[in-house]
Amino acid sequence: MFLSMNWISDFVDLSGLDKMELISKFSLSTAEVENDIFFKGSDISGVVVAEIKSVENHPESKKLHLLKVDIGEDELVDVVCGAPNVRVGMKTAFAKLGAQIGEITIAPRKLAGYTSNGMCCSEQELGISDSHEGIMDITDDVALGTDLKSIYEIDDIIFEVDNKSLTNRPDLWGHYGIAREFAAISGRELKPIPVTDLSMYDSLEKIDLKIEDPLCQRYSCLKFGNISVHKSPVNMRIRLFYCGMRALNFLADLTNYLMLELGQPMHAFDSRKVEKIRIKRFDKPFTFKTLDGVDRKIDENTLMICNGDTPVAIAGIMGGLDSEIVDDTDTLTLESATFDAASIRKSTVRLSHRTDASMRYEKSLDPELTPIAVARFVRLLQEIDSNAEVISALTDEYAFKYDDVKLSFDKAFVDKYTGIEIDNDTIVKTLLSLGFDVELDGDKFNVEVPSWRATKDVTIKADIIEEITRIYGYDNFDIHTASVPLYPVRAAQEKSDEDRIKDILVKRYSMHELHSYVWAYYDEYKALGIEIENNVELINATNPNIKTIRKSIVPTQLCQVKYNVGYDTDFALFEVGRVVEGIGADGLCDEHKKLCITLYSKTKDTQDIYFELIDILSVIADDIKHEALSFEKMEATHSYQHPKNLNEISCAGVKLGEIGIVNSSVAKKIDKKANVVYAEIDVEAFATIKNASISYVEPSKFPEIEIDLSFVSASYAPIAKAIENAKCSLIRNVSVADIYTDETGKSITVRIVFAHPERTLTKEEVLEVVNVIVDELDAQSIKLKNGLPM
């Protein structure tokens, strides 16, 4: 919304104050002012009222005229002018020699052989309208030679406030409400709105009016006629233009002017079309042509203004074409009404048609304003057109009245909320300046909220705090820290696990953390041959590509691997993100936080990186929980999983997730020459695992005995089991020393270290344990390869 400093100054005397400073205070106390502030008229000077005394056609040009104009000086001035509307006796705006029009300084100029000693200006050239039909036609009775700026408000400061910053302030949608803020900010008095006392027309006939629907809160109307003015006064047109509205004709301009001044939308009907005003909704949908000529579908929820049963306007949004003022209209009916804000908002959305009026109605306008707006309208109408007549009594139906809002609080409440000392006088003065009624009883404030703030804006005590503090100025606040008792704060397990996992992966394994989107990207999945499964769906995604929420991060990360092919021969990615596995019995999404890791390598084979990933995961479990991981083969159920190398990961009895290689069908599409393995674990499940304490074992001071045993076995699992079953306290360490394949098959060499804490071990003791292990394995047909080493 554009705001005019001149207009504001109609209602509050700001003389002697720095306007720019006021605007910046307004920005900090009320609503943000956009950066661009326009100094209208600052590039116009030396323009006076002139009368055209003679008009001659230029001998060689069809367009140009040779004029003699009177600018109130002794001599007439010769001017060459190209405007089509020149005529003898016409008064116009004339830029004298030396005048400034925008970037042009007026100097004598030769035009097609004739010298022009000045320039007749159009309103567009003066920046006061977009009319460039010809030079300005001044009809006001003013002396020739008068500086235009002394009679017209060409000089003005225009600033803009984003409509969004005013959503909660219905009272700020017109200059009068803005002026109230400036009054409060500057400490100056707000003037009352000049109105006509409409009670003098009470004896006239009333209009046939009936509100038949609770969505209409108040409807005020009045009939008037005998309009003789058709073009609005220059100053009115300038204000409308500066505030972003186009001047049309006097009546349309006047309703717009009222809206910009008071924030109250108004509409004038041809009285012949609204003899029985009824406000209601219809049972059945129908089509209605609005005054912009568009056919609009009206449904059962849209409130309509009707003449009897004939709709004439969409309430609060736009009038109908049929009831529009036409050339032979001599009596008009003025509407000033308020409607249910939510209903207007919904209708606007349904019709996808937002107007200056509906924008205001959506904010919950003050119904107290409707008759005041009519009285103001009549006042301006009669000031401008002395022939205009009011021909009905003010007809006003007030169907819904907001409750009065009265709030009481004491000084201690203000002190507690603000944390600073604002004295009682300042509080009272501030609230009064904003139109609140205040009664101070000791330290207790009884406040009545003015009607224009009571429609939804100010309802609780905390709202009053805002009124006091914003005018006080947040820049003036003395700021200090809070004093609260201190207690130790422990990080949530899950959060600290997550941080540590990230550190291990980045710092130790040089992995890269990425983020991705939470949805399953249809196109990208498809490119890799990954099926979109029965994921939970979004109902209002505008992009069909992102219609469902992913069940696992793995496919997303495989897409990212594909995207990064070419970055390096080897890289590793990870993400901690969320997935939805389905909808639970409680109807809520089964959301999980997962860690997903992928290794990509062109230099190492799949098995190597698979074991690398197992090591990485094991380090995480060991580092954070001091626990080992176990792996168990699982069935592939997703298109990207591999039928053979897919294992479930568990830790301390908690199932964490899976590790696997990528199904060849998908792997091929990622990169034929590279190997990819992935793992995904549930971070929340991981967090439930208790941190086992470090099990410290004092190193033996006596010599250790190290024994290598080679077994012919396809798997290490039975060997580990046999060693564990031996339950020997002398075993200090077990590791796999070698894995190789020869004519006898795959062999695994296990290295067992024995030691006794208090003495030197004997061969016999060790062999006894070794025999137990070897016998157990032998019973499973797992043979010791090269005999006992000792």
């Binding site: 909660n168 705090i465 990080a491």
Partner: protein
């Protein structure tokens, strides 16, 4: 007889002068003072001498033997030293002008700024909370004083799911749960609620360099008996000064958010121009950074906290925006691009 010792001595000195290695030295050691060495052999010649001569000659030989031994030891030390010097000189001089290999892992830039913010608040006794991304209408709107049909719901275009839940459009969706989680400690033990909750948020809108449908915020709340606007401004200023590692000027403007009253828009002095006005602050000298305010009484009530007894402030910080400002990322979409070329640069930043 001293001639003999003198000759042997001279011969030894000549031989020693020729020695160039420990091995050669060992050889002449054996040659001269070994069991059958020249010096040792001299003693055998003593048998023909008188007792008096024996004594003199014996002493001379012993002196020579000791002298030879000392010289060999000295030579050995010298040779060892030479060998070390040789070894040192054999080592080539390295070309340190070759660029270092900086290959290592990286954190997502959001993780970096999030950790920085978390550290600041942890140091002031705030807990760091995590919250789900899919929430109910109650969590995201109703409990935050945004009833159905409230115009504020127009402000955010929300992604809805088939089961009626939604992707959280603001981290504030965690507020209600956090109040409920800590209100007993507040009431019974007098522990102020001090929490921050970073998280991912979603808005159903078209994306471009400045708009994303997925972004990170960090919300913070503090509730106790006497939390004031003055405290709010203090914490905001402190946090932002810590985040940007310089004294930041802040200003508050009224801002409308249904879950706070009064609500504010917080601006900071432009980081680029320091407040003089430049293109990145649109010549205003200020950057709009974080909405904040005093928690609305209805929101506290919904969380089971009596607003007549307790007050609190809440703020929301755009982590994504912060990361972009801090690292000069121009296109917001880069953050979710998954591009290693872009993201591998964020190695660490504490």
């Amino acid at each position: 007889m001293s001639d003999k010792t003198t000759k042997v001595r001279e011969a030894f000195l000549n031989a020693l002068a020729e020695v160039n290695s420990i091995e050669e030295l060992e050889k002449i050691r054996v040659e001269y003072i070994g069991k059958k060495g020249f010096v040792t052999e001299l003693l055998k010649e003593m048998k023909d001498l008188s007792n008096e001569e024996k004594k003199t000659f014996g002493q001379a030989v012993n002196v020579l033997k000791n002298e030879v031994n000392d010289m060999i030891n000295a030579k050995r030390e010298e040779l060892k030293q030479k060998e070390i010097e040789l070894e040192n000189s054999r080592m080539p001089e390295f070309d340190v002008s070759i660029p270092a290999n900086l290959k290592r892992g990286s954190y997502h830039p959001i993780t970096l700024v999030q950790r920085q913010c978390e550290e600041i608040f942890k140091s002031m006794g705030f807990t760091v909370e995590d919250y789900s991304e899919i929430v109910t209408d109650y969590e995201c709107f109703e409990s935050l004083n945004i009833p159905k049909n409230h115009p504020a719901r127009d402000m955010q275009d929300t992604y809805y799911l088939e089961n009626g839940q939604l992707l959280k459009s603001q981290t504030s969706a965690a507020q209600n749960a956090i109040y409920k989680k800590y209100k007993d400690a507040l009431y019974n033990e007098g522990k102020a609620i001090k929490a921050i909750f970073p998280g991912r948020c979603f808005r159903n809108e078209a994306t471009d360099a400045c708009h994303e449908n997925t972004f990170f915020q960090m919300e913070g709340v503090m509730v106790d008996k006497n939390i004031s606007i003055s405290n709010l401004i203090f914490f905001m200023k402190t946090m932002l000064s810590e985040v940007f590692q310089k004294d930041i000027k802040v200003r508050l403007r009224p801002g409308f958010f249904p879950f706070v009253e009064p609500g504010f828009e917080l601006d900071i002095s432009c980081l680029i121009c320091g407040g003089d006005g430049c293109p990145s602050c649109k010549h205003s000298g200020w950057l709009e950074l974080c909405p904040c305010g005093m928690i609305h009484p209805e929101v506290l009530k919904a969380g089971g906290i009596d607003p007549d007894e307790y007050t609190g402030f809440a703020f929301g910080l755009g982590l994504t925006r912060l990361a972009m400002m801090k690292y000069g990322v121009k296109d917001i979409r880069d953050l979710n691009s998954g591009s290693l070329k872009t993201l591998s640069q964020f190695t660490d930043d504490k």
